[in-house]
Symmetry: C2
Subunit: 366 residues, 2 copies
């Protein structure tokens, strides 16, 4: 298996309404990468476009707008983990030897049709994601004594981190009191336990080992990959409402592939679309024993969601997985500015879709 | 690079209106493959769904309906060559070592939004594909003396071949006179020079070298891959209206990778969405000298479009690339029934999108 590195990355500012088209959004981080990287456009082998937007042939349109003529270009969609699916696909193109340079682009509008899984009629009228988040939260509270305050602290910390991230949607400090007093959406989930759809885009450039050395002195390597899909419907995804089984399998496979122990992770971008999901992630990723997630919120061993996570940055669905990889790459290459985590060598991204019916875990290292 | 084989395939009957949903269509060939293959469902690593249909999260929905829980599942779209993009992606997952078994599924309804590239405003009011086909045809006629009769013979032969294919949309014999007297759409393209959107689905199972031996005694190997995208707009795709430049590059790369000479191809599925495209393909794939395509129509060295091509089978856009691979696999494994080409060892698929602004060429062999 050929080694694959990430040599460049860029993320736009996430906004409630950017007044930009999906293609304007998608072009921005690519232009940054092409400007800042030593890579001539004509060497790009692949452009993979991650979006839930319905435009047809959108990867080729993006190529035309950017003046890129790659071998491979297509769109990839899988709701909220479209982005990490696209990163893994680019990894395999390079690792197999078919490509040397692959640009992965995520872009989404707040109005994306990917925000609602209309197919999942097993939920009856409870179509919004907040309903299943509430079920997970209630189950975890009942079984393990997790508290609303612990969940609230996830939101407080991720909003705090977002203040140091110039591309994040939210810039305000929020307190635990703010979270607890925010409007209750579905018991026990309150407004500030929830992430928010928005406009935003991000891109990362993946390169083969040989070429990485030409482009950067500090390549960040993709060391482990795990993915799992069980279903599309919430009702079929789990036998245990306190665990995201897909994430457990994905984490196990990613740690096995990388030969890295969960305790060696320095920095992690976790899929905190709702606060409870971050607490479940601590357990599913083997950071703590099952049931101890609530108490892990205030630990200082692993830097969690330094960009602000989905809660602080906003959630442009097709973009999120790419933006997570961009952030961990920034951290590991010590280019994260005011939010730099000191001395981090190993990072992880955790990206879910549709109530955790599919999950991707990617481990990166220097 | 690990070798990758195709061990199973299935194609549904293509129909003008099947009364089936996109998911019913997509499931059918998968059920056939799962029934006829020795592969237990739980070993499937990847399900890649090729379609231009707008349903979100459709690959995971398909997995749930089939009771498959793969590592990787997502949708891939790139208009008319979505299917071969998905096959190449599956190849890279296996070749890289991330997967051993990948199911590629193409499905489309005749009403697919992929039938019209609304983005390409450079064509003004001439949005339908037949306009660019007419330009290619006129240019080739003017420069090389290609005739309407030569184009017509492409349609006659492919409709003739389709009669032996139980899954083809068209079952009628047509004569050159029928083509020449059919309604003129855009000079010189007549109705019977054009393919037809329809409902249809196809699936192929790709496997790693080790696993291929467990599943089949006669694996068909993917030996060469070439892909190229230049743009999304007709007006930016070519400097020469008598050549599909993307297909030339894709063919060159596929022949180089496979170390197979164009003259060694025994059977080819060519992208005959319009008759002129098949004539251009002969030249772009180096079967004949530039300009000689018109005269190549009646040759007998290479079996062209034995399933009936797109003209005879119909064109469910996201399905076509998969169905081409299924046909060449059937031929090379000597399972093509009444339409079996005798003694064929090496085959090729040629799949275009959007006026040839992107192209994929795949070479298969036993």
């Amino acid at each position: 298996m050929r080694k694959v590195a990430i040599s460049s990355y860029a993320t736009t500012e996430f906004l409630k309404n950017s007044n930009s088209s999906i293609f304007e959004l998608a072009c921005k981080p690519c232009i940054d990468i092409l400007k800042n990287s030593k890579l001539p456009k004509k060497q790009l082998d692949a452009v993979l476009f991650s979006t839930c937007s319905e435009e047809q042939y959108s990867a080729s349109i993006l190529c035309e707008l950017l003046g890129i003529k790659p071998k491979i270009s297509h769109r990839i969609d899988n709701l909220c983990n479209s982005g990490s699916n696209a990163v893994v696909s680019a990894f395999s193109y390079i690792s197999s030897g078919l490509c040397d340079y692959a640009l992965v682009v995520g872009a989404e509008k707040a109005t994306s049709p990917g925000n609602k899984l209309v197919w999942d009629i097993t939920r009856g009228i409870f179509t919004l994601p907040v309903y299943w988040a509430a079920i997970f939260a209630k189950a975890h509270m009942r079984k393990y004594g997790t508290t609303e305050e612990q969940m609230g602290m996830v939101s407080v910390r991720n909003h705090m981190n977002a203040r140091k991230n110039p591309t994040a949607l939210f810039k305000e400090v929020i307190t635990l009191r703010d979270v607890m007093q925010s409007r209750k959406i579905v018991d026990p989930i309150k407004l500030l336990d929830c992430s928010c759809s928005c406009d935003g885009s991000s891109a990362v450039l993946l390169v083969s080992e040989d070429k990485a050395k030409e482009l950067t002195d500090n390549p960040v390597w993709i060391k482990g990959i795990g993915q799992q899909t069980t279903s599309a419907s919430f009702s079929k995804m789990t036998y245990d409402l306190t665990t995201i089984g897909t994430a457990q399998v994905a984490a196990r496979d990613a740690f096995n592939m990388s030969k890295i122990n969960p305790r060696k992770i320095d920095v992690a971008e976790l899929h905190d679309a709702f606060t409870i999901l971050e607490i479940l992630a601590y357990e599913d990723l083997y950071f703590v024993e099952k049931g101890q997630g609530g108490k892990f919120v205030n630990q200082h061993e692993i830097a969690i969601n330094p960009r602000g996570g989905i809660l602080g940055c906003g959630h442009p669905v097709g973009t999120t997985g790419v933006a997570q990889i961009a952030e961990v790459t920034a951290q590991l290459s010590e280019n994260a500015g005011r939010r730099q985590v000191k001395g981090c060598k190993t990072g992880l991204t955790h990206n879910l879709a549709a109530a955790g019916t599919s999950a991707t875990v990617i481990i990166l290292g220097v």
